[in-house]
């Protein structure tokens, strides 16, 4: 009987349940997407710079689980807030609290199972789409990435069932403790108590201080190194929480003190609502600010890693191709690429040495990076006499680098001798010609470098007996780039994935946290309507109020990202590369949630007008 009643009750709130259900489905899909990756050890091991720090994924899984748990908790409390009055009525007609609790738990379970089935299907689909997008976008295959991964399915199901059991048990226990009369009157209660600020000044000072230390440590990360790695996250987090606790109520109170603005239209109402909302949400908002920083940081970090593959390859390789004994096919292909510079060099090799021509080298010294000044230079002309000590010819350091630049494939295999032309001509031994080519933008002609590499494989086979292009690789700019890029792409893929998962979850939490308070606001908006406030004015008030609630953690979170990307200056050359892309992604998702929240909130509080 009570089950039947509950079903009718659910049907009446169909739309609200649909919101909840959609949210759950999304969270299941995201959770699954993350697990397919973090549980898939083969994939991580092959595709990530950070494969040797598996704990990162453990931490990621734990973080996502905690976030998802809070998410489930808030959605569940939203669900309860919708039904309080109805459950109170059941109590009134003599249904026992345990029975009501059981019905509530059963409802939650059924919803969870439904969301799991649809969510997992969606998760598989999303994994497929995202991995396809990334693979085609990056031009790198993730063969090990499976979209249907049984352990991930299993763990997602287990996690959501347990989490929903716990949250619904907590809420039904809460329900059991609430007197029937309070349930019945739940829509007329004012649950709000104004607290006078305590120790605000001290908290604000400490907050600013901590945040300052955190930002400074991030900024001087390269100097501080490990001290910075410890102080930056700790003080930034502490500062964020303190600031949200102390500063938010103060700011709103400041607004309220501006009588001229406050006593205009329903501004007093908007700021009053905000005052209460911000005090009750401050911990959630601070947490969201931190997680926004983490997720936007993960996306931005991924981008920076990918970009770094290009930057670091350009730093260590001044010439885009070194072609050995180029034939007509290579020459023809090279002719289609706009070159900045090309030079030919000749090398003879016998069993022990590689011989270079001094005159040829002095005529066209190649660009190298000077390891003392880190500047790209051309080495000074070679001296007449180069001493030989312990069978090793003494030449300036930059010329050692130059020889490696000219002859990347063979330089490491034998000792070198730079000899005058006349002596060179007398040396018997196989001669190889090498063509160095340099363009303005290596990344613009990747396909051509690849084609050249394939053409060169034949040369390698004749030049180096036993060379098999299927298993062996010759050091070249393109081959090194390819392996670095695959690694960076894997990292990018994960950063992107993780960031997206967090962002979606965070914004959903904020949304449901706000919506779960909406039921209590229905009466307030109804009072305003009766007093003659236009609907448009009420709608605007809602937009503004929720905008500010979204704005605070968003702004602080972005600030954290802007400063926090310095953290990567450790390992990346340009940590701020394309930061705007991740900021844009963040804004799109966060903005979307904002408008969705406003829409739903309006539906709840203004619907019956």
């Amino acid at each position: 009987m009570i089950l039947k009643l509950a079903l009718t009750g659910m049907r009446k709130k169909r739309r609200d349940y649909l919101i909840l259900f959609t949210g759950l489905i999304i969270s299941v899909a995201v959770f699954y997407m993350f697990l397919t990756m973090s549980l898939n050890k083969d994939f991580i091991a092959r595709n990530s710079v950070i494969n040797h720090i598996q704990p990162v994924f453990l931490v990621g899984t734990v973080l996502l689980s905690v976030t998802t748990f809070f998410y489930l908790f808030y959605t569940n409390s939203f669900l309860l807030s919708l039904r309080k009055k109805e459950f109170g009525l059941y109590g009134l007609i003599g249904v026992k609290k345990q029975q009501i609790g059981r019905v509530f738990r059963l409802e939650t379970l059924v919803i969870t199972i439904g969301a799991l089935v649809i969510g997992l299907a969606l998760g598989v689909l999303l994994s497929r789409v995202v991995s396809w997008l990334l693979m085609s976008g990056l031009d790198v295959g993730f063969a090990e990435f499976k979209v249907i991964y049984v352990p991930a399915v299993m763990w997602t199901a287990v996690y959501f069932l347990i989490a929903s059991f716990i949250t619904s048990s907590v809420h039904s226990a809460r329900l059991a403790k609430t007197p029937i009369i309070e349930l019945l009157r739940s829509d007329v209660q004012s649950e709000r108590v104004v607290k006078k600020p305590t120790l605000t000044a001290l908290q604000t000072m400490l907050g600013v201080l901590f945040l300052g230390i955190g930002y400074l440590s991030l900024y001087f990360m390269e100097q501080l190194r490990f001290i910075g790695l410890f102080t930056a996250p700790v003080t930034t987090t502490a500062g964020t929480y303190l600031l949200f606790a102390a500063l938010l109520p103060v700011i709103v109170r400041k607004w309220k003190r501006n009588k001229k603005a406050n006593l205009r239209g329903i501004n007093a109402f908007t700021s009053g609502q905000l005052n209460f909302r911000l005090s009750s949400l401050k911990w959630v908002l601070a947490t969201i600010a931190m997680l926004i920083a983490l997720s936007a940081g993960a996306i931005a970090g991924g981008f920076a890693f990918k970009n770094d593959a290009f930057l670091s390859i350009d730093r260590s390789w001044q010439y885009d191709a070194a072609l050995y004994n180029p034939g007509s096919a290579e020459i023809a292909l090279l002719a289609t690429i706009p070159l900045q510079e090309q030079n030919s060099f000749h090398v003879k090799q016998d069993d022990t040495y590689l011989y270079y021509v001094r005159e040829e080298l002095n005529a066209a010294p190649p660009l190298v990076t000077d390891w003392e000044t880190y500047r790209v230079v051309r080495p000074e002309p070679l001296p007449e006499n180069m001493k030989i000590e312990d069978d090793y010819q003494i030449i300036p350091d930059n010329w050692v680098a130059a020889l490696e630049t000219i002859n990347p494939a063979l330089a490491g295999t034998k000792s070198f001798r730079i000899v005058p032309l006349e002596q060179y001509e007398r040396i018997t031994g196989e001669e190889v010609s090498i063509l160095l080519a340099r363009t303005a933008d290596f990344s613009a002609y990747l396909q051509k470098w690849q084609a050249l590499e394939e053409l060169q494989n034949d040369v390698y086979s004749t030049m180096m007996p036993g060379f098999d292009p299927k298993t062996d690789a010759v050091t070249s700019k393109y081959s090194q780039f390819k392996s670095q890029y695959a690694l960076a792409s894997g990292t990018f893929f994960m950063g992107f994935f993780l960031g997206l998962a967090f962002l979606t979850m965070m914004a959903s939490i904020l949304m449901f946290k706000i919506l779960s308070g909406a039921a209590n606001d229905i009466r307030r908006y109804d009072s305003l309507r009766k007093l003659g406030v236009r609907r448009k004015l009420l709608e605007n008030s809602i937009s503004r109020e929720i905008l500010i609630v979204f704005l605070f953690p968003g702004v602080l979170g972005l600030m954290h990202v802007l400063v926090g990307m310095r953290l990567f200056s450790f390992i990346l050359q340009e940590p701020y590369y394309r930061l705007w892309v991740s900021i844009l992604i963040f804004l799109a998702i966060y903005g979307g949630y904002y408008f969705f929240t406003v829409h739903l909130y309006r539906k709840i509080v203004l619907s019956h007008q």
Binding site: V188, S190, R192, V193, V194, K259, K260, N262, L263, R264, G265, I266, N267, A268, F269, G272, Q273, N275, F276, R523, R524, S527, L528, R529, K530, L531, G532, V533, R534, R535, K536
Partner: protein
Amino acid sequence: MKPILHAKNISKTYGKKGTAAYTAVRDLSFSMNEGEFIGIMGPSGSGKTTLLNMVATLDPVTEGDITIDGVSVSAMTEDQLSDFRAERLGFIFQDFNLLESMTVFENIALPLSLRNAEVEEIQDRVLQVSGIIGIGELLENYPAELSGGQKQRAAIARALIHEPALLLADEPTGALDSRNAETLLDTLAELNAVRNVSILMVTHDPRSASYCSRVLFIKDGKLDRELVPSGTREAFHQEILTVLGDLDRRSGAGGRA
């Protein structure tokens, strides 16, 4: 005497016509002059709250026409009605309807804020009205910190601050104990007598109704009869009780057709 409210042959039917429709008010007409303090009484379900809601422009009439302060409200749009309520009407509800997130000052100031009055004017008016109502010391408090009686006083101050043409009260003493109820009614009567505030009050409490200058009795959605005091308030109270008893008897005897 200037007429402040005129309801002409108004009806209110809920539900689609024909299919299980329920008529709460049928073909009811009455007028109210400026400075009157009218009470509306009647048994539960008689349609008195529906009538008040229609006068308050919260619920449109199905048939007929309502004119308040010379303006017909029947053909207005939703926004026009909102503005009309904000400018010409004052409301007192049984459960106060104060906004908990605002201070008493802000609550009282709301109607003036809505018409974007100057800050100085708002402050002057709030101080003046709250002084008259006797809650001058509570302005910086939040409603949650007030007693029931104080809340209703704040609500009256809010209803009066913009000097509405008509003050509408729906069971204003419903949530108050007898002492607070008496103080409140004294205040309303004084506002009516001294400041010539026109008040239309729905109540089921004969004691409250005895403060009025005229009482309309509604039964089955129709105006049954009206009563004006001829002697003391106590005598009027007795008369009201007699009429109510009579109404009850007639329903008990199967008067409902």
